[in-house]
Amino acid sequence: MLKFVTLFISATILGCTYGLISLSYSLIYKSSGMMAFVNPDLMTWGAFLGFTFYTLMGLPYPIAVLLTCVVMFCMGFAIQKGVVRNLIKRNVTPMYITLTMFAMGYILQNLSQLIFGSVPRKFDSIIPGLKIQLAGIQVQPEAIICVGVSLLIMALLQFFMNKTKLGTAMRAASMDPMAAESVGVDVSLISGLSWGLSTTVIAAAGILCGPIYSVSMVLGANLGAKAFAGAVLGGYGNMIGAIIGGLAMGFIETFVSGYISSDYKSLIAYIVLILFLFVKPTGIMNERAIQDV
């Protein structure tokens, strides 16, 4: 029982982290029909920035989180305006855009190594001395913060995209850019905002899980592939699906490691993914990924 609870807690942490990454993939896909394979490395950057603001500069953790989000929002906006928009203007095939995403990812990964070195960095404890007991298990406060804030972000984002005017405009612009422009939406600005929002979510994932996993140049890369699988599992482009898919990947992986062996965790997670997609190609939330663009 104790083992189950321990695993359950780690699975929730990992699942929430995957969930946020999946969500950021979905946001970009929803708003521009692209596969944002640069995102995991943006997450690494979020974690390193958070580490810089919090541990190196000594700012309070909430301020460090906010600053990281602001900087990363601008970075996402700049990527859309500087790179993505130019590619689209030149009418390149989606394959080139995907390739550019990977290329930018490697560039960011290498830059983070140049700046921060290759030794994994440890965040200072967020609430030193605080010990939390949960069903007889000692839990790091960082873990509670990670799960709590992740869930909060997911809920806020869901509200923003579905219930606010700007969120609805973002969705409308992705469904039909010409019609959106014709009702008065500045589609070019909105695309930049969507990227900014997506990078903010992924940076938040980085700074939330950074204190738990320690930060290195491959932090995002290690998590990115499974989070992508989570997004597909949930129904690529569907926001609720992304959260559920990400959580599911976290649970499968953690419980396979715990009860079978960590050698099998990826093997089984991906087999489950493929089998599931045989049964339900549209994902958990029934998103028609391809026809949807």
Binding site: D176, A179, E181, V183, G184
Partner: protein, 240 residues
């Protein structure tokens, strides 16, 4: 009568393809004017470019709306000036409900408290939409989508509306209904209307004046009565 919209030697090319080859026309405030012509004549290109929905580098010549040159402006800025467009092929937001589609039509409006009343007004004008209020755009019939597209354009309180083939794919009885609605907007709300139509008969019956376009040029223009009596127009577009 003052000019609402003027094109002066307007040209448009897609890369090397010259879709519109220098046309000039004028539409006055309160008028209802039609643009007819065969497939590929350049009608949609003209309509879209007026509303800023094509790539701006293809444009040459002047587009003047309410005294201002707008050929360099992007679409949302033109919409903000009170010029709305019902795009060919309807372009409803497929995964938004009918109600949300109408709200998107009011995207630029600051007077949020009047939007609800305006939606009610649209539902009164198009009762079919009221029945489908919570349906997704993609689940509407073609006729319902066309009504929604017109209603959505109305939500912006435009001074002028451009409609590109409002009768496309509609049953004859619905076509009559849609054109009744268009005329009502013109007569009761004083909205200036410029529309493209394949169904030349109904176009010439509904408008006051018309332009006939052929491979990127305007070949004939005049009052609809004159056009209906014109030998060439009767042969080519009215099938007589």
């Amino acid at each position: 009568m003052s000019a609402m919209l003027e094109l002066e030697d307007f040209r448009y090319s897609y890369g090397g393809v010259h879709a519109v080859k220098g046309i000039s026309l004028q539409i006055n405030e309160g008028e209802i004017v039609t643009l007819i012509g065969a497939n590929g004549a350049g009608k949609s290109t003209t309509m879209r470019t007026i509303c800023g929905l094509t790539e701006p580098q293809g444009v040459q010549g002047k587009i003047v709306y309410k005294g201002k040159e707008i050929q360099k402006l992007s679409g949302h800025k033109i919409t903000a000036m009170g010029l709305s467009h019902v795009i060919e092929g309807r372009h409803i937001f497929s995964k938004l409900t009918v109600d949300e589609n109408l709200e998107m039509g009011a995207y630029l409006r600051k007077d949020t408290k009047n939007i609800k009343a305006d939606k009610e007004e649209m539902y009164r004008l198009f009762p079919r939409l009221l029945e489908r209020k919570t349906s997704l755009g993609s689940n509407l019939s073609g006729g319902e989508q066309q009504m929604l597209a017109i209603a959505r354009a109305m939500m912006n309180h435009p001074k002028m509306i451009l409609l590109d083939e409002p009768s496309l794919g509609l049953a004859p009885i619905i076509v009559t209904e849609v054109f009744k609605a268009i005329k009502r907007l013109n007569e009761q709300e004083g909205i200036t209307i410029f529309f493209v139509e394949q169904n030349s008969k109904i176009a010439l019956n509904s408008a006051q004046r018309g332009y006939v376009m052929q491979t990127g040029e305007i070949v004939i223009s005049g009052s609809c009565t004159d056009l209906s009596n014109n030998e060439a127009v009767r042969k080519a577009y009215l099938g007589e």
